[in-house]
Symmetry: C2
Subunit: 155 residues, 2 copies
DNA sequence: CCATCATTGATGACGCGTCAACCATCGGTT
DNA sequence: AACCGATGGTTGACGCGTCATCAATGATGG
């Protein structure tokens, strides 16, 4: 049996709209900056940060994929593209013939070190710094609440 | 001259992480549901809602693009795909030989009417309903604040 | 040692979004 | 009428993400 749909009330609609707009516009702005300053995509940035943080700038393929929460296929495709641009290199894993190591190249390290400060500054300017400690805390709670519900809802 | 970068403090990092995660996982969950229940993408949904709300289920191409804030090219590509699936039809505009009208087909209307209630229910369940009125208001303020800064910052 | 099964990654196909180039039409000017 | 800039829309190329499939390797049980 069917229940009549409760559409969103105006205040709810406004909240939802703002929420949707933010995650439509903020990422694209961040991406644009990143592209402009270092010719990196968000995906490049994520991978490079993960690798640069790892010892010797290298990691197993699978660890890397898990640490950034990507599917293998996505990682494989993206590494191919980054590899073609000289940001990253694949190396055979001696321990496991199936495995692959991924390493940042010097060019990759240079790219991330050039891009990171500007990126963080933009995030601060647009999101973090204007918030009071209470507001920052509220943001955390709201987002983590949604994440909790995402896990609870279906799985 | 160069200023030393202020990286994110732990509490800031946690907030930012939660924020990013939400915007990574929530949309993909919503998209999955939409796909599962009606074989529609988010983009399809957005277009169909806009058209279904318009008088006679039709709108000028450009109005449509503006009302959902898409570039023309994107709209054109997407309409081609939707058209191929029978959700939407293009019609010549009698007033302006360059213009194009876009209309929902009966199949398109059926699709949106089947998908919308479930979509709204999911949004309510995951985001809106668990929030107190004060929290909803806070969410709105936080998001609108970011949007304001986005407009202020570079333009 | 061999058969089987699971895991690691790569690959190809497809939908989606952006950018740049392009073509048609409109509206006003001369 | 012939031109010309502005407007409306399409197209092709490319990067990105997902899915399904596949090859190679490793682990396990007989």
């Amino acid at each position: 049996m069917k229940v009549k749909t409760r559409w969103l009330a105006p205040s709810e609609q406004r909240a939802w709209r703002a929420f949707v707009d933010v995650h439509q516009k903020l990422p694209s702005r961040l991406a644009r900056r990143l592209q402009a300053t270092g010719n990196l995509s968000m995906a490049d940035y994520i991978v490079l940060v993960a690798l640069a943080d790892a010892p010797h700038g290298r990691q197993h393929f699978l660890e890397l994929a898990q640490s950034v929460d990507w599917e293998r296929s996505r990682m494989s495709h993206h590494l191919s593209r980054m590899n073609k641009r000289g940001l990253v290199a694949r190396e055979d894993c001696p321990k496991d013939g199936r495995g692959v190591h991924v390493a940042v190249t010097p060019a990759g390290r240079a790219a991330i070190e050039e891009a990171a400060p500007g990126h963080v500054a933009t995030v601060r300017r647009l999101v973090i710094d204007p918030l009071s400690p209470e507001e920052l805390d509220m943001l955390t709670r709201l987002c983590e609440g949604i994440l909790d519900r995402l896990e609870a809802d279906l799985l």
